[in-house]
């Protein structure tokens, strides 16, 4: 696990890694129901309480504990994010790799299709998909996955094309190595680095998109907790209860920051070209 060690040595990797671990822990506790309070229970007497020792992030309009809801919401974001990015990375890798390898017509078909998807601003494509399929968690997953697939396709195809012309692939051909061996051992193994970086950055982006869609009321539907929904609810109460705005807002920001920092650190570690710029 030299990568983890390298990550911990990298200043932004250390911070980013800690943030991700913290968020994962919060999400896990939230999903296991181990929150300080019941995130769904409405307490009429505790409405709009500012942060205190019992409610560290205060309570909302229905007297629900904001901290517990934030934990639940992080879990929701992660479920959407991990699923969507997982699907996009898998699809994108298969498409990018085959496009680079087979070239010609297949490459043209794949890449022009990806161009079509990329012709829509990301949020707009997600909205179009939601317009067709109706809002909800699964639509969010699908939408984010479709939006991110072309990006993974490009991220894989570029390096795959250049690795394909490297001399070790030529050498493999002179031995008569099978196509499967070349694709898996020579190409895929060398694509792990750019993919890892991209997955991390894509997770940051998927957190943002999930929150954004929920903020517009087109993502996660109430009463499930989502950071975007919490912010949307906080809008009209911000002067009365700023904690409703500040805590979920900071949570999204720090979460995205964690993935961005880690992604950057990974890029520095895995890409020798940027290593030079760091020196």
């Amino acid at each position: 696990m030299s990568l983890v060690r390298a990550l911990l040595r990298h200043p932004s990797g250390r911070i980013g890694g800690c943030i991700i671990l913290l968020f994962l822990l919060a999400a896990l506790l939230g999903q296991l129901g181990l929150t300080p309070h019941d995130p769904l229970q409405q307490m009429r007497l505790d409405r709009l309480k500012p942060p205190s020792l019992t409610h560290v992030m205060g309570t909302d309009l229905f007297g629900r504990d904001v901290a517990s809801r934030v934990m639940l919401a992080i879990g929701q974001s992660f479920i959407v994010g991990f699923l969507a990015v997982g699907i996009a990375a898998t699809l994108g890798t298969v498409l990018g790799l085959t496009a680079a390898w087979f070239g010609r017509l297949w490459d043209g078909v794949v890449m022009r299709s990806m161009d079509v998807l990329l012709a829509f601003p990301a949020i707009l494509l997600a909205l179009l998909i939601i317009a067709v399929a109706g809002p909800g968690t699964w639509t969010s997953v699908t939408a984010i996955a479709i939006v991110y697939t072309p990006i993974f396709t490009r991220v894989v195809r570029g390096p795959a094309l250049s690795i394909k012309t490297r001399e070790f692939v030529d050498a493999a051909r002179t031995f008569g190595s099978s196509r499967r061996y070349i694709l898996t051992r020579h190409l895929m193994l060398n694509l792990v680095a750019p993919l890892t970086v991209q997955v991390t950055l894509a997770l940051a982006w998927s957190l943002l998109t999930e929150a954004g869609l929920s903020f517009l009321g087109l993502g996660t539907q109430p009463p499930a907790a989502s950071l975007g929904l919490m912010l949307a609810d906080a809008r009209n109460l911000m002067e009365m209860a700023p904690w409703l705005l500040i805590f979920p807002g900071l949570t999204i920001m720090i979460g995205i920051l964690g993935f961005n920092l880690t992604g950057d650190a990974l890029r520095d570690i895995l890409d020798p070209k940027t290593r030079r710029a760091m020196a």
């Binding site: 022009r112 012709a119 829509f120 067709v132 809008r235 911000m238 705005l245 961005n260």
Partner: protein, 319 residues
């Protein structure tokens, strides 16, 4: 075939793909097309009336005939009728578009105007405290979603300074520029916030890359002063990735407008898409999405033209 011809040829191809995708997406909406078109009002119709309407709109024809009719309409400026507005879709769009365009352009000016100098500045101070400060700020900026920026801005301005952003009736630029800019400046900052951060990061790293290139060393060996090395020799090369980013980001700005217009209650194109989706006004959804994608592609084409101007290797073809 040179780069430009190839780019010009792929433009209609991709646009065709976009139109097919939008067309098919709307046909995939569950339920019959008349219900989709009229929304809840369709419930007032008898099956015979529905069939008559379907025949009138050509909905009893095969998909490709319907597509051909639709695309022929698009070419003559007919994007269909908006049920909610009772007006041609194109009219509704053109009403709303100037605001969104202005918003995106202002965000872009803010982002390039602050991000580029900041990035170049940080690159020339590589590794020093100022560089670290810029990098931390840019990292945080890139990680803050526009809706968080917008809400926090409104909150701090109203609570901290008692200033409420002008959210009244929107005034177009040509009617009253001052009022308009007062209304637009906060939304533009909100929209351009993350973009500024990415421009900073990209221009910093591009500049660093370029500064270690051989021709920069040549310029120094020639006795060119530091400032000239940066502005005359390094910057034109470092601009190439910034231009690429700007093209892609313009799309994000058009998309991001959905959220920002929602926060500041601005009657732009982004909010129109949202309304259309919530109202199930599918002709409007279809038209707006197509319109935005077309503009995005157009901007990317312009970016490629800018490329050609910047980089003689593309302009004159490789050897």
């Amino acid at each position: 075939m040179n780069y430009l011809t190839r780019r010009l040829l792929t433009f209609p191809l991709v646009m065709f793909g976009v139109s097919v995708l939008v067309f098919v997406a709307i046909r995939l909406v569950p339920g019959d097309a008349i219900t989709a078109m009229l929304g809840t009002e369709a419930g007032l119709l008898t099956p015979e009336q529905k069939a008559a309407l379907a025949s009138y709109f050509g909905l009893d024809q095969s998909w490709w005939v319907q597509y051909a009719r639709w695309i022929a309409g698009v070419f003559s400026g007919d994007l269909g009728l908006s049920v909610t507005y009772g007006k041609p879709v194109l009219d509704v769009i053109l009403d709303r578009f100037p605001l969104t365009l202005q918003l995106a352009l202002m965000a872009m000016v803010i982002a390039l105007g602050t991000g580029l100098p900041l990035g170049v500045f940080a690159a020339t101070r590589n590794g020093k405290a100022a560089d670290l400060g810029v990098r931390i700020l840019a990292m945080i900026g890139q990680s803050t979603p526009s809706f968080v920026v917008g809400l926090l801005l409104i909150y701090f301005l109203s609570v901290g300074f008692g200033v409420l952003p002008a959210m009244g009736q929107f005034v177009p630029l040509w009617q009253d520029p001052l009022t308009n800019l007062g209304q637009m400046i906060l939304p533009a900052i909100t929209l351009g916030f993350a973009f500024t951060a990415s421009v900073t990061r990209i221009s910093r790293s591009a500049m660093l890359d370029v500064l270690s290139d051989d021709y920069v060393r040549t310029a120094r060996a020639k006795g060119a002063p530091a400032r000239r090395v940066i502005w005359r020799h390094a910057l034109p090369n470092a601009l190439i990735p910034v231009v690429t980013l700007s093209g892609v980001e313009f799309g994000y700005l058009l998309g991001g407008a959905v959220l920002v217009e929602q926060i500041y209650a601005l009657p732009g194109l982004g909010r129109l898409v949202l309304e259309a989706i919530l109202q199930r006004d599918y002709a409007l959804v279809q038209g707006t999405v197509l319109f935005i994608a077309f503009n995005f592609l157009l901007v990317n084409l312009l970016v490629d033209l800018a490329y050609v101007a910047l980089d003689p290797r593309i302009r004159l073809g490789g050897n």
